[in-house]
């Protein structure tokens, strides 16, 4: 069992106490909002949350716009568990990754559950810096949910865990696929797994810089090289070489 490649065990989070409510680093969690566009799936997730001795509050749709949703949710509950895909039947105008990232920025612990498919990861990638707890659907249980909240609070209150710490890293573009939807590019990451080429959506790069992304092109970005799985990697602070003019 793991969250973003870090094994879940009480020894990782000794501060995790569970007596009808979770107390994590002095922050109490008892009411948890469940976000999913499928009522059955919401109910099932509520079972799991109740098994963690927490109060589960499934959110009926349609949800308000994201900013309103974040403000009201933060007032009503202590934490959130959200599926990634939320747009079926006009349930929400945003997806789970956007919601969890906004909640993170509002210092509200939130866990994102996804099938961990490559398509989902492409859509989630730009939000991963703000999603400390990304759990595969197959790994959802009371322990991973609780540990997920703990990771968020730990990041709010102290430094990120090593697997989430970003380092300035050299990237080399291996190939580019503009015919795919979304357009993709593949990078080798220096100081990470030398055999693994990581696939990234091209819209991660600022529009005006995209023309630079060609095989062999090198540039810097902040990358959490401690991540064990490619899905958990995030990329921010892109730096592109400045074209020098010969004298």
């Amino acid at each position: 069992m793991a969250i973003l490649g870090v094994p879940v065990s009480p020894s990782n989070y000794p501060f995790l106490e569970n007596e009808m409510a979770l107390n994590i680093l002095g922050q109490s969690i008892s009411r948890v909002q469940v976000i999913d566009d499928d009522p059955t799936a919401r109910q099932a997730m509520a079972f799991t949350i109740r098994d963690a001795d927490l109060e589960a509050l499934p959110a009926e749709g349609p949800l308000p716009k994201l900013s309103t949703f974040v403000t009201t949710t933060k007032k009503r509950v202590d934490a959130v568990v959200s599926d990634h895909r939320l747009k079926k039947g006009h349930y929400a105008t945003f997806n789970g990754a956007e919601a969890v990232a906004e909640l993170y920025n509002a210092q509200c612990p939130a866990v994102l559950c996804t099938r961990w498919s490559t398509a989902d990861i492409d859509a989630i990638r730009q939000y991963i810096p703000f999603i400390p707890s990304l759990i595969s659907i197959d790994e959802v249980n009371p322990d991973t949910i609780a540990t997920g909240f703990a990771r968020c609070i730990s990041e709010f209150k102290s430094a990120p865990v090593p697997s989430r710490k970003a380092w300035r890293t050299l990237l080399r573009v291996e190939s580019v696929e503009t015919s795919s939807k979304p357009a993709l590019f593949y990078v080798a990451i220096s100081g990470w797994d030398s055999k693994e080429i990581v696939r990234l959506p091209l819209d991660l790069i600022q529009y005006r810089r995209r023309r630079l992304i060609k095989p062999g092109f090198r540039f810097f970005a902040s990358v959490n090289k401690g991540a064990e799985q490619p899905e958990a990697l995030f990329f921010t602070n892109f730096e592109f070489p400045v074209k020098s003019k010969s004298k």
Partner: protein, 690 residues
């Protein structure tokens, strides 16, 4: 007390650096002087090259513009680095000034050792103003300010019209033929020769290269273009477009929402623009109905093809120059050749009317600064091209559909003609030819039938695949997830409530639900995994890794069916270059095949064996099972599409294996009964290493 007031002074070196280094090519430097004539409301500007094939020659640029008096020369023409023109102001002929900063002018003037300016202002064309710059005086000076220049004012001896003549004497270098050609092309294209403005600006070069090209550009083969795309962008950033055919008939029209890419169809944050593109189909069939010849158009496009960019009536280099494909037309055509123009098969222009200073040219005249306005202009042109490609694809699809209807009719007609021809053959030979043709028809019919069957099967399977993917997505996302979580919740709660009694009462059915859910997840995962775009990408593929991954994905499914897969893989990590999808489809189809046939036999334990062995640069993969083996079918025929002995079987699984192996340069063989008693398939793949 010593006077210590001073000012910045410049070494003459700065003139060389500014002029020559920022405008490194002869054609771009001369163009800057020609643009001065445009700004002076000239209708004609003539460039004459005299003895320029060697060092010491002369270049003369003359125009019929408004000329300058001493004030204009001193406070305008001689000031370098300042744009003395306000783009909001128009010239006498209502032109938006090109707004040159004078650095190109400096470069042009320094092409020779001496530069002379003669100007007759429109306000008083009988006065002549003369300025002479001898660059050797600067070379000898310590600072630029040391060299005094004087504008002489005299009464004109000849002529009465206003205008300006700049003469550059004693050229420091010879002008090569290639430079003359480039200059000729740049001058011809400068003032949009594709437009039809009699009041327009006309640059002329007195050189053979120019007259040849001029003839060519005047040829204007636009009417012979197969399609004309005309897209416009209004001042609010909304676009519209129309495509007409060579007869001028409107084929397609688009509103902003049809053109603008991106969610919500954002407006284009760019100045007003018009994009015209004439796309040609360069084949003899098309040109048989045209007035021009294929060769003429090909030559014309060879010189002027591509999309040129005009700002306020003047061309901006290098967009549309040879080798400059700023809209990536050639790259897009290479990726998807059908119905897309290239810079060799089309000609076009993007014209913008821009006075707001949003589009800014780089100082070295190497195009626009790539700011948001420019990128948005590019997005507009690219979106228009994409829309055109989509329209043409639809058109091609219609054409193909109509061909499918017409082709059988043509075949029947052709057959009748052959039959009639056979009837005209002398009797002794007629019978033999008739028999041979009958035989040919039977064979051909059989071939067509097989192909139709294969196409139908692929369509059916594709539909099945798309449907499976949709359901896999829905079921894995919701019902399976809900069953899984609910069952696990029952497990946790029951353990807590019942304690030791759980094992005797609920453990078995709950575990069965969880196990069955896992098996259902596999169905979805396999479908998703096969659809992954990345797997179809050619890359270095480790074969063992794929085998292990497919077997792992199938694990719950196999467990449910009591099937044991024994893998015995050779040492090392053999790899080849290909797609993961190809290897995956080989392994998946063999596994599917075995699983289907296991339903026909009853054995104690179902077994599948996957063994690999490396020899002579090949990886041999052997798939065995203890199913019924290949019965009722020749092992050589199992690869044929549609050949199956299983009711409702598609007969395509092994055909796909066969095609995938062939694509990877390998071979595959089938045996009716192998080591495990059931069917045995041996695949040999050439590998790059292990």
């Amino acid at each position: 007390m010593t006077d210590t007031s001073t000012s910045l002074r410049f070494s003459p070196d700065i003139l060389r650096r500014l002029g020559e280094e920022l405008n490194p090519s002869l054609d771009q430097s001369i163009l800057e002087l020609v643009k001065n004539s445009f700004d002076a409301s000239a209708k004609e500007c003539t460039v004459v090259l005299r003895n320029t094939e060697k060092v010491g020659g002369t270049i003369e640029i003359s125009d019929d513009g408004d000329g300058m008096d001493a004030e204009g020369i001193i406070n305008g023409w001689l000031i370098l680095g300042r744009s003395g023109r306000n783009p909001e102001q128009r010239t006498r002929l209502n032109r938006v000034p090109a707004g040159s900063k004078g650095l190109g002018r400096l470069a042009a003037l320094r092409l020779g050792n001496v530069a002379t300016l003669r100007s007759w202002p429109r306000s008083n064309p009988q006065r002549e103003y003369l300025l002479n710059i001898n660059w050797s005086r600067y070379d000898a000076a310590l600072v630029v300010e040391e060299v005094a220049l004087a504008v002489e004012e005299t009464t004109r001896k000849n002529g009465a019209s206003p205008g300006t003549v700049v003469t550059i004497d004693a050229l420091r270098a010879a002008v090569s033929r290639a430079e003359v050609s480039r200059l000729a092309r740049a001058l011809i294209l400068l003032a949009d020769p594709f437009g039809d403005d009699p009041e327009g600006f006309k640059p002329i070069l007195r050189a053979a290269e120019f007259s040849d090209l001029e003839k060519l550009v005047k040829a204007r083969y636009f009417e012979d273009a197969e399609f004309h795309l005309a897209a416009s962008l209004d001042k609010d950033g909304a676009a519209r477009a129309v495509i007409t055919d060579w007869k001028g008939k409107t084929l397609f029209t688009a509103k902003h929402g049809d053109l603008s890419s991106g969610s919500g169809h954002p407006i284009y944050a760019s100045p007003e623009a018009q994009f015209d593109l004439w796309a040609f189909i360069l084949n003899k069939e098309t040109f048989s109905t045209r007035t021009s010849t294929l060769e003429q158009v090909r030559e014309w496009l060879g010189h002027f093809g591509g999309v040129h960019l005009y700002q306020n009536g003047l061309r901006v280099s290098p967009y549309g120059n040879p080798g400059n494909d700023w809209l990536d037309m050639n790259l897009k055509r290479a990726r998807s050749p059908e119905e897309r123009p290239s810079t060799n098969t089309s000609i076009g222009r993007v014209s913008t009317l821009e006075t707001g200073g949003k589009l800014i040219q780089k100082t070295d005249r190497s195009g626009f600064i790539e700011n948001d306005a420019f990128l948005e202009l590019k997005r507009f042109a690219n979106d228009a091209l994409e829309w055109m490609a989509r329209c043409r694809m639809k058109e091609a699809q219609k054409r193909r559909a109509s061909e499918r209807v017409e082709a059988p009719k043509r075949t029947v007609k052709a057959k009748l003609e052959i039959r009639e021809a056979i009837e005209r053959v002398p009797a002794p030979k007629r019978r033999a030819i008739k028999q041979a043709f009958d035989k040919y028809e039977v064979v051909r019919e059989k071939e067509i039938k097989t192909l139709r069957k294969e196409v139908q099967l692929y369509r059916t399977l594709s539909t099945a695949g798309i449907t499976a993917a949709t359901f896999a997505h829905e079921s894995a996302g919701n019902p399976i997830k809900a069953i899984d979580q609910a069952a696990k919740s029952i497990e946790r709660r029951a353990k807590k409530e019942l304690g030791d009694r759980y094992a005797d009462t609920l453990a078995e059915p709950v575990e069965l639900i969880i196990r069955s859910t896992d098996a259902m997840k596999v169905l979805g995962n396999v479908t998703f995994s096969l659809l992954d775009h990345e797997k179809r990408r050619a890359s270095q593929v480790e074969i063992h890794q794929i085998i292990e991954s497919v077997v792992k994905t199938y694990e719950p499914f196999l467990k449910e069916r009591d099937v044991e897969v024994a893998t015995e893989l050779a040492n090392g990590k053999p790899y080849l270059r290909g797609s993961k999808a190809a290897i995956e489809s080989i392994v998946t189809n063999f596994l599917n095949n075995s699983l289907v046939w296991f339903e026909k036999v009853h054995v104690k334990k179902y077994k599948i064996g996957i063994r690999t062995e490396v020899s002579n640069g090949n990886l041999r993969i052997r798939f065995d099972d203890n199913g019924p083996g290949l019965e009722g079918i020749d092992p050589a025929d199992v690869w044929l599409a549609g050949e199956t002995t299983r009711p409702n079987g598609t007969g395509l699984g092994l055909t796909i294996v066969h095609d995938a192996v062939k694509d990877l340069g390998g071979t595959v063989q089938a045996q009716a009964h192998g080591d495990f008693g059931g069917a045995c398939f041996t695949v040999e793949l050439p590998i790059l290493g292990k």
